[in-house]
Symmetry: C2
Subunit: 190 residues, 2 copies
DNA sequence: GCTAAAATATCCCGTAATGGACAAAAACGA
DNA sequence: TCGTTTTTGTCCATTACGGGATATTTTAGC
């Protein structure tokens, strides 16, 4: 497999492939998209695909991983040491690419999302929290538990939102999230 | 220089570079766009650029060449052997990318357009006509003269149209072109 | 069920793209 | 005017991509 970080070609190819998959998802059902379709849409060779990803799911997870990293980047430490987590952009983006995420939640991608996606998001949140809180005293709730809870609530909220055709605006969903968990999370921090 | 036709990478890189230039033209003046800007916008390495094009003008001409080939492809032979040249899509496209062509006509690209572009378009029209009329008796006006006239009128019409802020719709411009030269051209064919 | 077509997955070799270095020219400000 | 910075071309070793070929599996039609 290629490195994917150093060379510009690698990065570009990966972006192209992910973009191609997202384009296709907007048009047809996830599990009837073939690797063939993807490489044609992306205009790259077959072997190039397999040099980067093992299969279709691998590519999708990688795409989700990228989104998750953006999301987790929203976890910040205010000047007063207060922990913030702005999820407004996340819900906004989700609505902007409504069809994509609906396909994921309802289609075959859902299994991926709950099985691997939840674990992946949880791990990323935990890493982010650990980095931000480095040097501070231990929180009263263990970090893995905290991270897992945050990830779980976020995904559950998202699923409900999509299932019910996103009746509330992203701002409202963010507010709900804040009210639901962020207070509790902060109470666990010194 | 690379071949540019066989390998998918070459074709894709060229398309990417042309696309990048067109994007930049919509934002800033042609002659203050650097090769640097182009490769950054296109996300390709410097050396890659020079592997394909000698300089900025070279790239622009290549882009124009591509458009011209689409345009010349509109020269067709009807079922009755009647020569047709539909320029509606051409004027439409020009209006669709108004800023690009205005910059070309008014900016530093203009010198290129009249000096090399006219000759290039003329040559392409001539080649197309020769291919279509192969096997027929000689036209009463020599092919190079005919082709040059068509190219000239087309560019003159275009320049006037842009200079006067395209007062007429593309359909009208096409009609004018038809009335102006296509009758005469057909009268020269057996 | 059987067959043909399409998609998967893995290999290799030739080739295009990369990034970095370099000298030279142009653009820019002090 | 002179020095600084940016851009321009050109070169090269390294690396990723393309496009076959291949064997295997999946899908679709009959």
């Amino acid at each position: 497999m290629n490195d994917g970080k150093q060379d510009r070609r690698s990065r570009r190819t990966r972006e192209t492939l992910i973009h191609a998959l997202l384009e296709l998802i907007e048009r047809k059902h996830y599990d009837q998209i073939s690797v063939q379709d993807i490489v044609e849409q992306a205009n790259v060779g077959r072997s190039t695909f397999y040099a980067h990803y093992g299969n279709k799911d691998d590519l999708l997870l990688s795409g989700l991983e990228h989104q998750m990293e953006l999301l987790v980047g929203q976890i910040t430490l205010g000047g007063t040491g207060r922990l913030d987590f702005d999820t407004r952009a996340f819900f906004q983006h989700t609505r902007g690419h409504y069809e994509i995420y609906r396909t994921l939640v309802w289609g075959a991608g859902f299994k991926l999302l709950v099985e691997d996606g939840q674990a992946m998001l949880s791990a990323k949140i935990e890493a982010r929290l650990a980095a931000l809180l480095a040097g501070r005293p231990e929180p009263s709730i263990p970090l893995p538990v905290l991270a897992n809870a945050i990830a779980g609530v976020l995904l559950v909220l998202l699923k409900w939102w999509l299932d019910n055709k996103s009746p509330y605006p992203p701002e409202r969903m963010d507010a709900i999230f804040q009210q639901l968990v962020m207070g509790g999370v902060r109470s666990a921090l010194p």
